[in-house]
Amino acid sequence: MANDAHAHAQSPALRVQFDTETQQKDASTLGMWLFLVTEVMFFGGMFLVYTVYRHAYPGIFAIASSSLNVYIGAANTIVLLCSSFTMVLAVRAAQLGQRQAIILFLILTLVLGGVFLGVKAYEWNEKFQEHHIPGSSFHFEGMQPDEQAHAQLFFSLYFAMTGLHALHMVIGVGVLLFLIRQAQKGKYSAEYMTPVDIGGLYWHFVDIIWIFLYPLLYLIDRHLKG
């Protein structure tokens, strides 16, 4: 007890229910990972539906996938990986208590996240112009009516999966704005930087989802098209 009282007097960020800062930090990390695991299952359902229908209509999925612009997809993947890199540097700056560096790297992450969403919006707009939006005006060049229906399945999955991913990115942008605001107020230091760390976990998780979406949506049997 004497030790606890000492630890609490030493660090103002330590809440009463925890004995040490390490225990408090571990609890936050565990809680975030529990949430991320529910997210894995949430996206897992979509990946399952994708697997089932790709297995059912492999040829149509390959042709529909090849209509996506692979270079834009690859460039956007690199943008997102860059944002993960700047995010991890922000977390590192927080661990070292470098307050200006935290703000700088968080802003860089925010900008890169914005670029990703902008490119995504451009791609979706292209789909509208090409009539590749599932619905009554859907049309995929050179396909029979029954094949059209299967191509619509691919694009339904494309929009559901990239849309859900983009929604997570938008939430991530909100998290980043909050972190930048708090960092500007000088709330984070080497002793207390849990929100930056937790926000980083979320951002990297969204990156991992895209790491799987990119090959599954953009790279199906590209060689067929030449």
């Binding site: 990390t29 894995v40 993947t77 993960s84 990297h204 790491i211």
Partner: protein, 99 residues
């Protein structure tokens, strides 16, 4: 705090590996590997995800309990995928209607 802090060099190397793997997976997609192209694409994606989780998300230094939660989550995902696909893939063998 006694947490481990990686060097910028480590993060930069991981980042370089991630970019390289992205370029490789894109290039390989244009090569005809038959049924193996999806295997290669997924293997590269798993490598990239592992790099992000282990280094960027600090799973390397996390507590045993956190690792257990991560592995538990992946196990449940595996149950979802494997059990459903084992049903979907074998329906035609025994003439179950619906496929």
């Amino acid at each position: 705090m006694s947490e481990h802090i990686d060097s910028v060099r480590t993060y930069a190397l991981v980042f370089a590996a991630l970019i390289t793997l992205t370029v490789v997976t894109t290039a390989v997609a244009f090569v005809d590997l038959g049924p193996f192209s999806v295997v290669v694409a997924l293997a590269i994606a798993v490598c990239k995800a592992l790099l992000v989780a282990l280094f960027f998300m600090h799973v390397r230094y996390s507590t045993g309990l956190t690792r257990l939660v991560v592995l538990g989550g992946l196990l449940w995902l595996l149950i979802l995928l494997v059990l459903t696909m084992s049903d979907i893939l074998t329906r035609s063998w025994v003439g179950v209607p619906g496929r």
